[in-house]
């Protein structure tokens, strides 16, 4: 996932965009769901905070006996980040979206907002991240909401054990975005049985209703590539050459914010191209998940079974192979067979259905602890799914007119809403 973010430098500093969007009282400036998703929030419209923040890096050894393959020699445990107050305060656990590390920019912005509002915060990587698959996933096969959430719960317990001697906590809160939002719902449900944290409030930001359906939306973006996803290499090279030419002819001094800003204002990429780039960056992230899981389970999916890769072996061909596999390939050839082996009666449809908020809708509807934020134009949702969320959460739903998928998450109004949500009814 990091890739196009680096390429486009999602850190689009100081974008002075204004007056672009409709005047509807909502100040997030970028219209267009794909554009906002890629561009995110201009730095000048993010909340501003002092630089100083008391943080500690947590390295969690969840499975001390697990042997790690030599290719992952650098992985010493699950990485999480704690930001802590000196005094007693509520602790918020935050779960990142697909492919997010504990340091991903969105999590860090959320952490800063909450820290400067007086909360302790622990950021958790997504269960789809290689680090999580290697160090914290029991099955080492990511994508199942129930199992991933049980893994997350174990991680939270371990993290809490590690920090509870050093910080004073008044109560626990939970939040997540994108796939992390769905996981937050399942984690909260599990907590109703286990009662370790008794989360007082749980916030879901840009959740998918059904993982399978949302991934279908994203896979469809790749259809906008000429020749489809199987020709992503041609597409990538063509887009990249466009990018270089633009730089060359524009007399830019460096690949910096001015350059990135002009890519946007000059509309270097058409809308289908932008859609294709989002789809491709998603595939590049997915490739990391597929490869890591395959190595950890020795399934012979993209790496030959029983091959032991050393830290200096070339794995570039595995990168190319993995990026060419769709989510459907992963689901049908790897994920479903894995669960089918454990539960022979399991049908594909039942597995798909269990990856949906609908499977716990009774709980979500009745529990007052939930809040949900999303956008009218979040393209991972169909119209029907958006209506479903509206009806499911009712008063507890906050729906913004634009922002695409997560584009407006770091916008200051959204951050303020999030902080207020966690503050509400708090016992200081």
């Amino acid at each position: 996932m990091i890739f196009f973010k680096l390429l486009f430098m999602v850190c689009l500093l100081l974008l002075p965009v204004s007056g672009l969007a409709a005047d509807d009282g909502y100040g997030y400036p970028i219209p267009g769901p794909y554009e906002s998703t890629i561009m995110g929030t201009p730095a000048s419209l993010k909340p501003q905070f002092p630089v100083h923040m008391r943080t500690r890096r947590l390295v969690l050894d969840i499975y001390p006996d697990r042997k790690k393959p030599p290719i992952f020699f650098y992985d010493e445990g699950l990485l999480c980040t704690l930001a802590f107050q000196k005094q007693k305060a509520p602790l918020v656990f935050l779960i990142g979206g697909t492919g997010a590390t504990n340091q991903s920019p969105r999590l860090i912005t959320m952490m800063k907002s909450l820290y400067h509002a007086g909360f302790h915060v622990i950021t958790l990587p997504s269960p789809t991240l290689a680090n999580f698959i290697i160090s914290a996933s029991q099955s080492r096969v990511p994508g199942d909401l129930t199992e991933d959430s049980a893994d997350l719960y174990r991680v939270m317990e371990t993290a809490w054990q590690q920090v509870k001697g050093d910080i004073e906590v008044s109560e626990f809160l939970l939040g997540g975005y994108s796939m992390g939002a769905s996981q937050a719902a399942f984690v909260a449900k599990l907590d109703e049985e286990r009662r370790v944290f008794n989360f007082r409030r749980v916030l879901m930001i840009n959740p998918p209703v059904s993982l399978y359906s949302s991934v279908t939306r994203i896979e469809e973006l790749l259809k906008q590539i000429p020749g489809g996803a199987k020709k992503q290499g041609f597409f990538f090279n063509r887009m990249f050459s466009k990018f270089s030419r633009f730089y060359r002819y524009g007399n830019f001094v460096a690949i910096d914010e001015d350059f990135i800003y002009s890519i946007y204002t000059e509309k270097l990429f058409t809308t289908p191209e932008t859609a294709g780039l989002i789809g491709l960056s998603y595939r590049i992230g997915l490739a990391g998940m597929i490869f890591s899981s395959d190595v950890m389970t020795n399934s012979g999916y993209v790496v030959p079974k029983n091959r032991v890769l050393s830290s200096s072996d070339s794995i570039f061909d595995y990168f190319l192979v993995s990026t060419h596999l769709s989510f459907y390939d992963y689901f049908n050839e790897y994920f479903y067979p894995f669960f089918k082996k454990q539960r022979p009666e399991l049908t594909k449809q039942a597995l798909i259905d269990s990856q949906s908020l609908r499977s716990i809708e009774g709980y979500l509807k009745s529990s007052t602890k939930f809040g949900m934020m999303t956008n009218e134009d979040d393209f991972i949702l169909t119209k029907a799914e958006l209506d479903y969320l509206r009806q499911l959460f009712g008063e507890r739903a906050k729906i913004y007119p634009r922002g695409g998928h997560l584009g407006n998450l770091e916008f200051k109004d959204n951050q303020a809403y999030m902080v207020d949500f966690f503050r509400m009814g708090s016992t200081p």
């Binding site: 990091i2 020699f73 492919g99 680090n131 090279n237």
Partner: protein, 262 residues
């Protein structure tokens, strides 16, 4: 957000670390189980390869990448972290300013080598302004006067005079580079060393060796302090290739390489 790494001149423990790190790889696992071909392989896809960079010494480079990870972990970053812990942020920024200002000498010589008149004047203007009004570079008034920094180095100069980047190369401590950029780095370091020796700023103190070492050591720490890049921090198993691609393309694009065919 440059990945270019110019960490300074601290080679003291390199040799020792190198032998440790490379020795580690030799003890590979013995595997008696027979391999079974994977379900998917590269041959089934009829597509262009992408994000690839010429890298004939990948095995060596990946070992060096690993070495840098350990060097950072056990020596470089602990030192940098202690520095950040004991030094107020304001002081850190002033120190970075001074070293960045000294770096203008490299920008200037290389702008001149590339016959870039306007850039040379801009850089000279920056250097003079920041050395005087900016108190030896502690502050940067030049940027607010419209004199923006133009980063140049001998790698770009070589490119200007027609040298190809050559294969990708991961240098110990300095990190991602290429054959051309590594030669450039050597030349730039030689020039700085020459100028420094000629001026010999601490020649009359009687303790010049101590001061020179301090200046160099501080420069090395500051350079690492200014880079946010951390090896393997992305948690992405193909990080090596992403770093390689972005480093290479950023250098090519900024050096103004001939355009690829559409």
């Amino acid at each position: 957000m440059k990945i270019t790494s110019h960490y300074g001149r601290g080679f003291a423990l390199t040799a020792m670390f190198l032998s440790l790190s490379l020795g580690g790889c030799a003890a590979s696992m013995v595997n008696n189980t027979e391999e079974v071909p994977a379900m998917h392989s590269i041959n089934e896809f009829k597509d262009q390869r992408f994000a690839e960079v010429e890298d004939p010494w990948e095995g060596f480079n990946r070992s060096m990448y690993r070495f840098n990870f350990y060097f950072d972990k056990y020596l470089f970053l602990p030192v940098v972290n202690s520095y950040e812990f004991i030094t107020p942020t304001f002081v850190q920024q002033r120190i970075s300013g001074v070293y960045n200002n000294l770096g203008e000498v490299r920008n200037l010589t290389n702008s001149l080598f590339q016959l870039k008149g306007m850039d040379s004047l801009t850089t000279l203007g920056r250097f003079v302004t920041n050395s005087t009004l900016g108190l030896a570079g502690m502050f940067d008034p030049a940027t607010s006067f419209g004199l923006e920094r133009r980063n140049e180095d001998f790698g770009k100069t070589l490119n200007y005079w027609g040298a190809d980047s050559g294969p990708y190369l991961v240098l110990p401590i300095f990190g991602p580079s290429s054959v051309r950029d590594a030669s450039g780095l050597a030349v730039d370091s030689g020039i700085s060393y020459g100028i420094y020796t000629a001026i010999n700023p601490f020649g009359n103190t009687g303790n010049s060796f101590v001061y020179d070492t301090l200046v160099t050591g501080m420069g090395t720490i500051d350079a690492r302090h200014q880079k946010s890049f951390r090896y393997y921090e992305s948690g992405y198993p193909f990080e090596y290739y992403m770093v390689r691609f972005i480093y290479h393309e950023q250098r090519e694009i900024e050096a103004g390489m001939p355009l690829p065919a559409e």
